[in-house]
Amino acid sequence: MPLLRRILVRLATGALVMWLSVTVAFLALHALPGHIEDVLAGDMNYPGLHEAIAQEWGLNRSLPVQYADFVGKIATGDLGTSYVMRAKVSEVIASQILPTVELALLAGIIAAAIATALAVATSGRGEIPRSIASTLEMVLTSSPVFWIGFLLLMLFSFQLKLFPVSGGDGWRAIVLPAITLALPTSGLLAQVLREAMERALEQPFAVTIRSRGVGETAIRFRHMLRHALLPAMTLGGWLVGGLLGGAVITEKVFGRPGLGSLTLSAVTSQDVPVVLAVVLLAAFTHVAISTLLDIAYVLVDPRLRSQ
């Protein structure tokens, strides 16, 4: 079955990619200025302190040894302990991953909904709706995520007091951040969907379908949307990476907990195990998504099954 073989190959390359990413991050972090134990010591300075810290975290061992130990542990699923927070990295990540995934997922759904509605409503329906839609999309994709965040905050939170300014709990706290993150993504997605739909509408089979008495909206939903899915999925893979990146910024704008703030502080305080865990997670997400996309492609387009 070519599909199974294709997935196995994709997973194998995925493992390779994850290993490469972690190695690159490990080398980068250890090449940063200053020894890590000095950083961890911070403002304290009494004899024997730095050596003790180095000893505690095994930083005094040679790099290859540290690396081998680290990769060995990861293979068994042990992500080690955070230098700064002194907690098991897996726990730290687990506690912080939910808010970010929630935000990215909700933003993704909102973006998909807006994009589909925009595309179906305006594709191939004459010049005016088309130009309005493309202008709106362009403005959305061109504005910085955090600026949109500020504008929403100013309008809905400070002026209209509809939504709380921030915080991680309660459904109302996630509405503004999710919309902030969703808007630029929906602009991009809508552009791709609409152009793909318009190309499909110019194909001869569109005339055949119309000759069966099928209405304009039914044509778009029952036929054209599937055709628009292919280019949208290619973009989708890239967008998810964007959503994670965007989440970091949105979390900072709205003061929400999550992987964003965790990553920022981990890198700046050179908390190596946490940074490497985040890199691993990012690489894993990327690999998982590209594998899913591969499968989805074949499901959506039967012509790919024969190769």
Binding site: L16, V24, S143, W238, G242, K252, T268, A282
Partner: protein, 296 residues
Amino acid sequence: MSDVQHGLTVDALAPTRPTATQRGLRWRPPLSAAVIAALAFVVLLCIAVAAPQSISFYDPLRGNFLQSLQPPSAAHWFGTDRLGRDVLSRVVYGARYSLLIGVSAMLISVAGGVVLGVFAGLRNRFVDEAISRVFDVLSAFPSVLLALLVVVFLGASMVNVAIAIGLSGIPKFGRVVRARARLVREADYVTHAFIYGRTRASVFVRHLLPNVLTAVPVIATLDIGTAILAVSALSFLGLGPQPPTPEWGVMLAESRDVLRVAWWPSVFPGLALTATVIAFTLIGRALQAHFERRAR
């Protein structure tokens, strides 16, 4: 089977005036009003980069404490920020940083992307696989994390931000160039070139490379917008140029704390940023349409 499927006999290739059914009403004048406006805005940006003092009235770095957080007025069209500095002057001087970093980041992405893309597209499977893995690794890092590592590694400065964003842009560029290279490689004018006594090398130089690179200026222009956005994001996270540099992202970051009492320190840099990105997107689209019309 490669046997040529004898195709349509309806002379689809004849460019008789585009019948309404095929072309619909999408025939547009060559330069729409929006594109002209975009070009004008970019000219304005270039003036701001080259001679900012010509279109601003104050020193962007000198603060007057008595006039901190003044709303837009005749004296200060865009009002003043917390340190009493003129927001309009800072936006004008800011253009230089956003544009220079954005363009240099784009150039890095383009250079890396084109070189790797061409190799991946035109060389054997092994090279193609290896380079695709490089793209995977680069895109496995969310751009922010990649930028973080680069900036913390090299220190937060304009050059490093450009490198960070340039690196994260390479996979996107690389994949586009690779796809185009694989397309051109199969085209008849390349496979049949031997009929005219061309050597492999001259086919590469005369037909392959030029046709692959025709798309580059288009994607490059489109990418300037994305690069500028990425730069502002990094500055917002405090990893880009350092205060008091009047870079738009830094200005937005600084405006965050006073958002509640003063809207202007945040709205105007944001508008400048968005307008710049829109301008480059419009110009990129116009270039794309021009190339498509010629190549079709």
